[in-house]
């Protein structure tokens, strides 16, 4: 039976690699679109590349160790291996080798991530200005942060969106309000302010490789640059109550012209409905 069990353990790397390979061929049967969804943000590919880098590195280790496991089981099956066992307690050299190589690899992986992380979460877009010394890229540089184009508020169980009106500042009386309907201009860096009205939510744009938990009591910024027009999902990715599953929004990316037109239309509709209301009163 040793042969049979060895082959069972061989099936793990074979099928494992097979499933991943089938999933990565997203255009073909049987696992159509069972991989990273379409990426429509300018920096999304960075995260995809890091994902793939780790996938290949770990894939090699997975296949290597799994094959070693299979081979040792096959070769040292007690029914077949009639000689004496190899009586030894270890090898100092081997322990050193297989500590240092993974340590270096892991450290490399960690350091390799830093820039992408800083781009996504730390370096908020803005304009860099020379400080008092009149020179750029010195310690006293000032950064004028780009203002958010809209504020997205999570609440049970919807996304409330508030655009800066004509004054370009969110939170004033000329703001434009929508629910679950986020429109953004293509090919422009956009900054969104996200906040929560009640419990934790998480603002997840699968197609932009963007996710940020929304914490009540905090005002957070997210930023990205859409590069394709189209309509995409906004997903809530942090448990927020019984209706968590239906907290769905849509993000429409359109040309600057269409976006401005849409915003003007929304403004008009909002004004008309408020006039209508005041007439009724």
């Amino acid at each position: 039976m040793g042969r049979f069990w060895s082959l069972l353990f061989l099936a793990v790397p074979v099928l494992g690699v097979g499933v991943f390979a089938a999933a990565m061929m997203t255009d073909s049967w049987p696992l159509h679109n069972h991989w990273l969804p379409r990426d429509v943000s300018e920096k999304g590919y960075v995260i995809d590349n890091l994902f793939n880098t780790i996938l290949y590195l770990t894939g090699v280790i997975f296949v290597g160790t799994s094959l070693a496991l299979f081979w040792f089981l096959w070769k040292y099956d007690g029914e077949k291996n009639l000689g004496p066992v190899r009586f030894l307690h270890g090898s100092h050299t081997l322990e050193v080798v297989w500590s240092i190589i993974p340590a270096a690899t892991l450290l490399f992986i960690a350091i390799y991530q830093m820039n992408a992380w800083a781009d996504a979460k730390i370096d908020r877009p803005g304009t860099r200005l020379a400080g008092a010394d009149g020179r750029m890229n010195t310690e006293d540089d000032l950064v004028e942060f780009q203002l958010p184009i809209a504020q997205v508020t999570g609440r049970q169980f919807e996304w409330r969106i508030r655009y800066a009106g004509r004054d370009g500042v969110v939170g004033t009386s000329d703001d434009v309000h929508t629910v679950n309907d986020l429109h953004l201009p293509v090919d422009e860096e956009v900054v969104l302010q996200i906040k929560s009205d009640d419990v934790l939510h998480s603002f997840f744009l699968p197609n932009c490789r963007l996710k940020q938990d929304v914490v009540p009591g905090m005002k957070q910024m997210v930023w990205f640059k859409p590069k394709e027009v189209g309509s995409f999902d906004i997903v809530c990715a942090e448990l927020c109550g019984w209706g968590h599953y239906k907290m769905k929004g849509r993000m429409t990316i359109q040309s600057r012209k269409d976006f401005d037109q849409w915003l003007t239309d929304q403004e008009r509709i909002q004004q008309e409905s408020s006039f209508a209301l005041s007439e009724e009163e």
Partner: protein, 597 residues
């Protein structure tokens, strides 16, 4: 069960006043073996409950909003047999709670820790037998409280096992956030008290009560795993207990540890005091990340013992194994932030937590290499416990490597809270720990009950579990790569995920097969109690001390004073007369010189 105390008259350990009544022998027993078995039976029952809860989750993901066959009409007559979204949140909350707090932690430390520690170090019992008894009986308030939380009207606790505020603190936030949540928190506190009693006992026993000759570096790795786990629990648990009380106070006394000033959820009274929701996450994960290692280090130890025994070869790199267990435990205290990369925590902290998290993969890798080194050049016996232990190694490779994806902060932005993480921890906890536990049950069953479990049924059980486990959990990686979020009652109304239902159905049927397979195990376990082949002291031919005691050991464990002459892994030693070389066997007059490495 009567056979358990076969040798009990050999020792006059108990005072004569409490002599041998049924209650003191089997119910409020202070014998570590009975307490271990009490933990084992309780946790196996809960394992079954947790499995059924998982099937509820799987049913909803495969056939959302359809009548659940057989039990749907009984459970939810009001909804016509459908799972409601409220009940779905309770399902996954309770599945995780039961599996983590009632199965994995108590079956490793409570069942195997209790049963094996005194036997493997050559002691007659634990250092504090009464405390040991209490550690089991403090689980019962927890069982009742969590059970009551589940059945609280209208819905049980639904804040997830992580219980993040404000959802879990504000009564109005969710149907299960009222009294059900308070019951849940109190239940977890009792589990914590039980674990704390156990951990104090294990540490003391291992340090103080080892048999003559049993130095620390002659301890089996099972004991090292249990020892380090006990230390982890002792240092991490107080934080969870304190945090739990803080949450209870926020809920009942109006304090404001976790709620920001003025927060209103669903017309609740505005919160006073400027608390922080993220504070809970830090405190919770400061315990619950070490808890992840509490849930695997003892399993690693047991697997090491089983693999060395059935490879008939010394464990490869004993000391590196000990150091890597310690390394995992030490690093385990400084990686909790990797659960919070996208939580709103300062992103600069994310970088430091990424480095420490990456580094924890190193001792894990060293362990895998050493297991491979152990079977290399051995004479492998493919017994049921060996198969389960080998599958631990195979599955832990997958679970360990998939952790690196989450540790990389930019990648985590995309896969955080998706099925990728669900795949990861199920590979570690089911593919890893649960498979090791099955192996350990098959392995030590003859010691516990004096009879063998059926090997053929055991292998069928292993084969089917192995197939179905991979069918259920491997596919989750693929779902995670699409971004498929966890904890959604109906993910299919999102355009991005609507085409994933066929794969979910496949997984559900694998999960059903996996739970059904456990019937074979239950049958084998129960029938072998009565009809299993009776065994002597050492049916597998192993070295460690417990195999020198009678099967089952009587009260006081050993019918002789064990003296230890060597480490537990000297299989194939040139001086050995058999295929093993027990720790108690005195060396010959002219022992062969054996190099350390």
């Amino acid at each position: 069960m009567s056979s358990i105390t076969a040798g009990s008259h050999a020792h006059e350990h108990e005072s004569s006043a409490t002599h041998a009544s049924f209650i003191s022998t089997y119910v409020f027993s202070r014998d570590h073996k009975i307490i271990g078995l009490q933990f084992l039976f309780s946790t196996l029952l809960w394992f079954f409950v947790g499995g059924l809860l998982a099937l509820g989750i799987r049913w909803q993901l495969a056939y959302p909003w359809t009548n659940m066959p057989i039990i749907g009409k009984m459970l939810f007559p009001g909804e016509g047999g459908q799972i409601s979204p409220e009940f779905y949140t309770t399902l996954f909350t309770m599945h995780a709670t039961v599996m983590i707090f009632f199965v994995i932690i108590p079956i490793l430390a409570g069942a195997f820790g209790n049963y094996l520690i005194p036997l493997m170090i050559g002691a007659d019992d634990m250092a504090f037998p009464t405390l040991n008894m209490l550690s089991y009986w403090f689980m019962w308030p927890a069982f009742f409280l969590i059970g009551a939380s589940f059945f609280t009207a209208p819905y049980g606790a639904g804040g997830g096992w992580t219980s993040y505020p404000p959802l879990s603190v504000v009564n109005e936030a969710a149907p299960g956030s009222a009294s059900a949540q308070t019951l849940w928190l109190l239940g977890i506190t009792f589990v914590g008290i039980s674990s704390m009693m156990g951990s104090v006992n294990y540490m003391t026993t291992i340090i103080q009560m080892r048999a003559p000759g049993m130095t620390m570096f002659r301890l089996p790795l099972t004991i090292w795993g249990m020892f380090i786990t006990a230390i982890l629990q002792a240092f991490a648990l107080p934080v969870l207990t304190a945090a739990g009380f803080m949450q209870v106070m926020d809920r009942l006394l109006g304090t404001g540890f976790f709620l920001p000033e003025g927060l209103i959820v669903n017309n609740s009274i505005p919160a006073s005091g400027g608390g922080q929701p993220l504070l809970w996450q830090h405190l919770f994960w400061f315990y619950s990340h070490p808890a992840v290692y509490i849930m695997i280090l003892p399993a690693m130890g047991m697997v090491s013992d089983i693999i060395s025994c059935f490879a008939r070869k010394p464990i490869f790199g004993y000391k590196p194994m000990v150091y890597s267990i310690s390394g995992i435990a030490g690093l385990g205290f400084i990686v909790w932030g990797h659960h919070m990369f996208v939580s709103g925590m300062n992103p600069v902290l994310g970088m430091t937590f990424m480095v420490s998290t990456m580094m924890i993969a190193l001792p894990s890798a060293v362990k895998v290499f050493n297991w491979l080194g152990t079977i290399w050049g051995g004479k492998i016996e493919f017994t049921t416990p060996m198969l389960f232990s080998l599958s631990f190694v195979s599955m832990f490779i997958i679970g360990g490597l998939s952790g690196i994806f989450m540790a990389a902060t930019p990648v985590d932005i995309f896969i955080h809270d998706t099925y990728f993480i669900v795949a990861h921890f199920h590979y570690v906890l089911f593919g890893g720990t649960a498979m090791a536990v099955f192996g350990a049950i098959y392995f030590w069953y003859p010691k516990m009950f004096g009879r063998m479990m059926n090997e053929q049924l055991g292998k069928v059980h292993f084969f089917l579990t192995f197939i179905f486990l991979n069918g259920t959990f491997f596919t989750m990686h693929v779902l995670g790569a699409v971004g498929f979020p966890r904890r959604l009652a109906d993910p299919y109304h999102y355009d991005t995920f609507q085409h994933l239902m066929p794969m979910n159905r496949f997984m559900t049927w694998c999960a059903i097969g996996m739970v059904a397979t456990q019937v074979i195990f239950a049958f084998n376990f129960i029938s072998s109690l009565f009809f299993g082949k009776p065994v002597g002291r050492n049916p597998w031919g192993c070295n460690s001390l417990e195999w020198s005691a009678p099967s089952p050991p009587g009260h006081g464990n050993f019918d002789f004073q064990p003296v230890v002459y060597r480490g537990p892994y000297e299989y194939g030693h040139p001086d050995a007369t058999k295929n093993h070389y027990p720790q108690i066997e005195p060396p010959p007059e002219n022992p062969t010189e054996v190099p350390e490495h």
